[in-house]
Symmetry: D3
Subunit: 132 residues, 6 copies
């Protein structure tokens, strides 16, 4: 199995609801390093998984939809705890949708899986892995 | 599949038995960066895998049982090569035991897997992966 | 010249005023990795710059005063752009005040300089350096 | 499942053919950080996956076969896009061949899988995973 | 003294002349992580050293002038060993020229120093530091 | 001012004397990532600070004199707290002695300064800086 991974980052504000979150129930923020991994069993005709430049561009667009925002004010996340693991799924699903629409090229239809990891600090990170 | 990972570190002395280890047969030491990854297929009611604060606290307690010690003097490791990969299993099994006892909360009973990685330097690390 | 550095992290929300900041004028957030470096020309009687455990504890207390907060709501920062470089100075000055009060021990009075670096992402960081 | 990983690096020149590569069609170069992960379900008689020193030595020899070269001039890569993901497979297959010949010791015949990751920068990397 | 640092990267081919370089006399290549640090004693009216977005943009333009090239073919480097430390100076001097021309804004005229670090691998890097 | 830095690592056992060290008074150990930085105002005739290969080799030899040892048993460290900052000075002074003897080549006599940083974990490190 082959994969390539590209990294971007995201700076957001948000708060959590639930006693388990302690002081993180207050409005605070995070820089998330966002790693998107694309997988396929065989390389395409150019001998690649997917073009790293194109993967970087699409990840950048997904990230920019949330960047420099207070997620508590985003209608799409109303009533939802925007935990690191949940946001990893949001990024993965939005990338999957773009792949399905051909944004990563026709060759990218050979992709079979996707993992997104969000690092919230040097000591904590979360991932979501899905098939395509 | 979702996961979260938390990091701590551990500073121990030990020695190895067996010619394969060369100079590492002498008493020496290591800082291990310890990464514990918790996995589950669906998020819990708080929209998380497990509370990162609680996971950090439990990992810290497992680490503190070995920290600042000469593992050659620990009865539980008598006659055992405390290799990086072996210690990854020790940390994983002790975390699994704590999860089983409810230390990570009732929601953590939904966890299905655990991976522990110990980095012994910037150029070598080891992992142990198990189910829960 | 000798130095020791300890690392912690901080998760805050804030916004900036001024066209130069573009989308960062919106309420957003950041994880800051916080590195505090303590300098002195000679080691103390214990052969150290300052105790790493004590330095870590004091840095942790300075960090906790700002952690999990919206800096726009903190009276002490009213009307101030809480840029990464400015916050590096805030952390440095608060550490210097603690050193002056003896929080790092009597031996720490031999410290002559302090640098604080805040990493806002894997591609941007800021520092403030001062004498003691 | 247990694993150990060792890291080395590689500095090569090459160029790509195909419009998808844009400016990377020109002769350029890369430093690849090369991580080789060796897996097995149970530890060997020395309580290890494989000797880290020996794994490092064999990875170093595989790397040195390509290091400080223009891959466009290597007959074995004639007409091939030496993408990061393709080179990860080259390193993995050459390590597998060495394992088969006993270069990692008789105990290493218990290895069941191998993953090689090549980091081409701090924001992009590729992997190839195979069985043994 | 305040500073901010921004990071980019650069992928080039080149070769060296001189026996000291051993196998690096052959045409090979490198990824350089490029860190540019901007220093000034006091913050500007926006409470910053220089805008991180603008600094990132200008560093990106300096990097793009060399990116994806064989430096042996660049007339400006004819007869020159394009060592990591030399290239750090090239990047620093080109940034200094841009600052002088106002590319980082009028406020950036308060900058007093500049350091550029090029990482050629995880185990070697070089820096050049200059005044402005 | 120019500099180059090379990295190696070191795995030792030791213990500390003094109440300030708490549990680190017990025999324990550490992996130290060792970074040696060599400085000079102008490049040499080969357009370098010092050969990175040669610097790596000499650092490796200094490191190997202490590697895989219990520093409490080394006569040269008898009665001394082998703190991270103290060991940074040991490595720097031994490198300086080698430079003085010509081990880094005649050109290396142009070096004017040296800094050694020892990372004891991902959250603590120490440096010693000296002239040559």
């Amino acid at each position: 199995m082959f994969s390539i991974t590209v990294r971007d980052h995201l700076m957001i504000a948000h708060s959590f609801r639930g006693e388990v979150f302690g002081p993180a129930q207050r409005l605070h923020g995070a820089t998330f390093l966002v790693d998107a991994t694309f997988r396929r069993p065989e390389l395409d005709d150019d001998n690649i998984v997917v073009d790293i430049g194109l993967a970087t561009k699409e990840l950048g667009e997904v990230v920019s939809e949330m960047n420099y925002r207070n997620l508590d004010d985003e209608p799409v996340f109303a009533g939802t705890n925007t935990s690191t693991e949940f946001l990893a799924k949001v990024v993965a699903d939005r990338l999957a949708e773009r792949i399905g629409k051909g944004a990563l090229g026709e060759g990218a239809r050979g992709l079979t899986g996707l993992t997104v990891t969000l690092h919230e600090s040097h000591v904590a990170w979360a991932s979501y892995e899905r098939e395509l």
